[in-house]
């Protein structure tokens, strides 16, 4: 699937629910695959008693990875040229996240997007921009 410049309009949006009721096991899977074993993400006694958080929380990069899945589903495989986010709030087990891309401009064979991922309370957990090649 690829996007065609001629079919894109400024303000177009694409949205996906990227995770529903985030499981601790998925956070463990991300730790194992990425190699980031910071115990704040997977180790309840450490996260609560040592680090002082209410429970474990997702890696920012898991949120970015989930957000990136929405993007690649939208723009197609291998089409991204830039992708960046700021992590604006933490993501905890049980969260349901929705990611949206909004078309900001289309020029020179590239689409520029703003990207936002929010949780079930409408709190933005990641926000940023992306750029991709279009046909």
């Amino acid at each position: 699937m690829t996007l065609k410049a001629s079919e894109l309009n400024v303000g177009d949006t694409y949205t996906e629910t990227v995770v529903e009721d985030l499981k601790r096991t998925q956070i463990v899977m991300y730790a194992g695959a990425s190699g980031d074993y910071n115990p704040v993400h997977t180790d309840e006694p450490f996260a609560t008693k040592v680090a002082g958080y209410p429970t474990v929380f997702a890696h920012g990069m898991l949120t970015m990875g989930l957000t990136g899945r929405m993007l690649t589903n939208y723009v197609g495989d291998g089409r991204l040229t830039e992708f960046g986010v700021r992590f604006t709030s933490q993501v905890f087990p049980g969260d349901t996240l929705q990611s949206t891309a909004t078309v900001e401009s289309v020029e020179n064979g590239l689409v520029s997007l703003t990207v936002s991922t929010t949780n079930q309370d409408g709190v933005e957990v990641a926000k940023g921009t992306a750029q991709a090649r279009v046909d």
Partner: protein
């Protein structure tokens, strides 16, 4: 972070894609990928983060060298360190301890940006080298004084060509982020 040989491997990509809930065939089926636009299994956009697996001194992985780990066993623990044998010529204890922290009230990931010159594909062997970027401070409502540190990592392929530029911003907080 410095990584000499970050081999882009199919099973690693498959596991990484699963961990972000991505069942796209481009990440695990080489026959499908051969006929798709990329022409090979490629890595998901945030995959280069997993180069940590190939960094021999990565601090957020329990060591296999007798150096302690900050995570819990029979106790919650913290950034503890068993006394390493005196013969070890590794860095000073203090440096090693700092390297193995990064959790606690301490370091969080504030921002991540990637520029894709192309997308890594199975068979690539990348190198990664990092340099510090800018540093700045501000006072946050929910976590006290914040110190931001930027790090720029260049991933190059077996021909020395730039594949991905990654800009990471870490933040040290004065106290854990208030959830209110």
């Amino acid at each position: 972070m410095a990584v000499d040989k970050f081999s882009i491997e199919a099973s690693h990509i498959m596991m990484f894609a699963r961990s972000i809930g991505d069942g796209n065939q481009i990440y695990y089926d080489k026959d499908y990928a051969a006929n798709a636009e990329p022409g090979a299994i490629i890595a998901p956009p945030t995959f280069v983060q997993a180069s940590a697996q190939f960094d021999p001194t990565y601090g957020l992985r329990p060591g296999i060298d007798g150096i302690g780990w900050m995570g819990s066993g029979s106790n919650p623990t913290s950034a503890i360190r068993r006394e390493a044998p005196k013969s070890e010529e590794s860095g000073s204890g203090e440096d090693e301890r700092k390297k193995r922290q990064g959790g606690g009230g301490g370091g969080l990931h504030a921002e991540q940006r990637y520029v894709y010159h192309r997308h890594p594909k199975v068979g690539d062997v990348l190198t990664a080298s990092s340099r510090p970027g800018e540093t700045w401070e501000r006072v946050g409502r929910r976590s006290g004084k914040l110190v931001f540190r930027e790090s720029v990592t260049e991933y190059r392929d077996q021909n020395g060509e730039l594949v991905v530029t990654a800009i990471s911003v870490g933040v040290s907080t004065e106290r854990p982020v208030d959830q209110k």
